[in-house]
């Protein structure tokens, strides 16, 4: 909608203007929400989208609009249906901001194409004299133009708007009072009403912008939480990639030993039988599969068992899924294990600390079995999830290849269309 209005406005405005020129408006027929609205709106839309649907309308706006109307004849009190109908659909957006009543006309005008407006207007004039007239009268009644019937069209040029914004910011958006703004701007041909209506639009616009921003921020925040830092923003992308780089390398350098120590606390003890440290460690990883949880591991240095959020997470990566499938998966979003790295790990989604590699990848999705042989069910579940919820963030957030190069490659392989019409 927002996007649409401006387009419509500008397009319609031009047409409207043409329309107006060829059209001699009767004095009594005055558009409440007239083309002038449009003209007015155009400038607005250039500056900010007028897609607002504020219910409150300054009564004077109508007058302003009337004044804006570029017809030579002075605006009279009763805006008639003509004006309503003339209203090009584009003005609908600005119109509906201003008056509840106007919405009616807006909708009616919405049906009329701009070029046909003239004809329709004339015709409709007969049909809805009352409605429009009433509306016009009503609105006129509402808005008291201090100057009487005369309305001066305010052309909100970018320059003018800039000064306006300056004044508003000087006063503070919330505290900006039209009269003060007027003073600050020091422009003669602006009435307080002009300012007031402009201010209203401006505030609406800002609110809308802020709301959108907030939504975007919260969305990306959420994604960050889930993805452990994988914020899907351009800015974050670079950072993310950098973050990614290190972890990939890290595991290889870290090697086995460190990771081994903490995690498995209450699960296994190194196979002292073998007495071979490296062997032990490597076996540690895979033991879970074969051993039943042995006596609690006393010697674990760092995070003592109790420091770990008990079983489930441990199980999830230490024990093969087919043993402890039910324990699987901490709820999505839990930081991955291993405990010895929790907080620091969080930001980097994949913390392949070597050993329980997959374990770490607890991201959003139904956990990765984290084991050597992912179960078919988990894989299937994960895949199904991706297919049904394409909006989910990518677990790894790898840099995507360029579409073109993929297409080229595929074509080399003999595939010219994707998605392919025939499945594999």
């Amino acid at each position: 909608m927002i996007a649409v209005s401006p387009l419509r406005n500008s397009k319609n405005d031009r047409e409207e203007e043409e329309l107006m020129e060829g059209f001699s408006m009767e004095e009594s027929d005055f558009p409440d929400f007239c083309v002038g609205n449009l003209l007015d709106s155009i400038d607005f839309d250039d500056l900010f989208v007028v897609g607002i649907s504020d219910g409150d309308v300054l009564p004077d706006l109508e007058h302003e609009m009337l004044a804006d109307f570029s017809s030579p004849s002075p605006l009279s009190g009763g805006g008639e249906e003509e004006s309503d109908v003339i209203n090009p659909p584009s003005s609908l957006s600005s119109v509906e901001n201003f008056d509840h009543d106007e919405i009616k006309s807006a909708s009616s005008s919405e049906n009329a194409t701009t070029t046909n407006n003239a004809a329709i207007v004339i015709n409709k004039k007969d049909d809805e004299p009352n409605v429009a007239g009433e509306r016009g009268r009503k609105s006129m009644a509402h808005s008291k133009n201090p100057m009487g019937k005369k309305k001066v069209k305010v052309d909100w040029t970018p320059e003018l708007h800039r000064r306006f914004v300056q004044a508003v910011e000087q006063l503070g958006v919330d505290k900006a009072v039209p009269s003060r703004i007027l003073e600050l701007m020091g422009i003669d041909c602006l009435t307080r009403h002009n300012i007031a209506s402009h201010l209203q639009k401006y505030r609406s616009h800002r609110k809308h912008l802020l709301a959108r921003e907030a939504e975007a921020a919260s969305w990306s925040q959420r994604r960050q939480m889930y993805g452990g830092g994988r914020v899907a923003t351009a800015a974050a992308t670079v950072k993310r990639e950098n973050q990614h780089v290190k972890p990939w390398i890290a595991p290889t350098t870290i090697g086995f030993p460190p990771p081994v120590t903490p995690p498995i606390p209450h699960h296994f003890r190194p196979l002292h039988v073998w007495g071979h440290p490296s062997l032990d460690q490597s076996m540690m990883n895979t033991w879970p599969k074969h051993l039943t949880p042995p006596p609690p591991q006393p010697t674990w240095p760092p995070p003592p068992p109790h420091s770990l959020p008990p079983p489930p997470t441990d199980n999830s990566f230490w024990i093969s899924h087919h043993h402890h499938h039910q324990h699987h998966v901490p709820t999505p979003g839990t930081p991955c294990f291993p405990p010895h790295m929790p907080p620091t790990r969080f930001p980097t989604p994949l913390v392949p600390a070597g050993i329980p590699p997959q374990a770490m990848y607890m991201v959003e999705q139904p956990q990765p079995p984290s084991d050597i042989h992912p179960s078919k069910e988990s894989v299937d579940a994960a895949i199904g999830d991706v297919l049904t919820k394409p909006w989910l963030p990518l677990p790894l957030g790898l840099k995507p290849p360029s579409v073109n190069s993929v297409m080229v490659e595929l074509q080399l392989q003999g595939i010219s269309k994707i998605p392919p019409t025939t499945c594999a």
Binding site: H244, V245, W248, I249, P251, T252, L271, V273, L279, S282, M283, N285, T286, W287, H290, P352, G354, P357, Q358, Y361, V363, Q365, P368, S370, I372, P374, S378, V379, D380, A382, I383, G384, D385, V386, L387, P390, L394, P395, L396, G397, L398, K399, P400, P401, S402, V403, S405, V406, M407, E409, L410, Q413, G414, I415, K417, I418, P419, P420, C423, A424
Partner: protein
């Protein structure tokens, strides 16, 4: 097929591949899984995989290395497990005698 739908498709395949990587699967395993569960032509999977590899060389390098280590550790484990079993068996036999 519009370019957008291709882009979306490729993005989806990438997403799926990433999931498989999370499961520590190999490219071949991934191709098989995607073909089986998502009806994606293996050649497409492999192409996207290769492209991803090109774009994320470091990641894939370390991933591959990790997998190798793991597989070798698996082998070690298996071996040691087997040895352990043998020992246990033989010790049992000894006890029985």
């Amino acid at each position: 097929m519009g370019s957008e739908s291709s882009a979306q498709y490729i993005h989806m395949v990438q997403h799926l591949i990433e999931e498989c990587i999370v499961f520590n699967m190999s490219k071949e395993e991934c191709m098989e899984a995607l073909s089986k569960h998502a009806n994606i032509t293996p050649v497409i999977t492999s192409t996207v995989w290769k492209e991803l590899e090109k774009e994320n060389k470091e990641f894939f390098e370390s991933y591959t290395k990790k997998r190798e280590e793991k597989s070798s550790s698996d082998q070690e484990t298996e071996t040691s497990q087997r040895i352990q079993n043998i020992l246990l068996d033989s010790s049992k036999k000894i006890n029985d005698q």
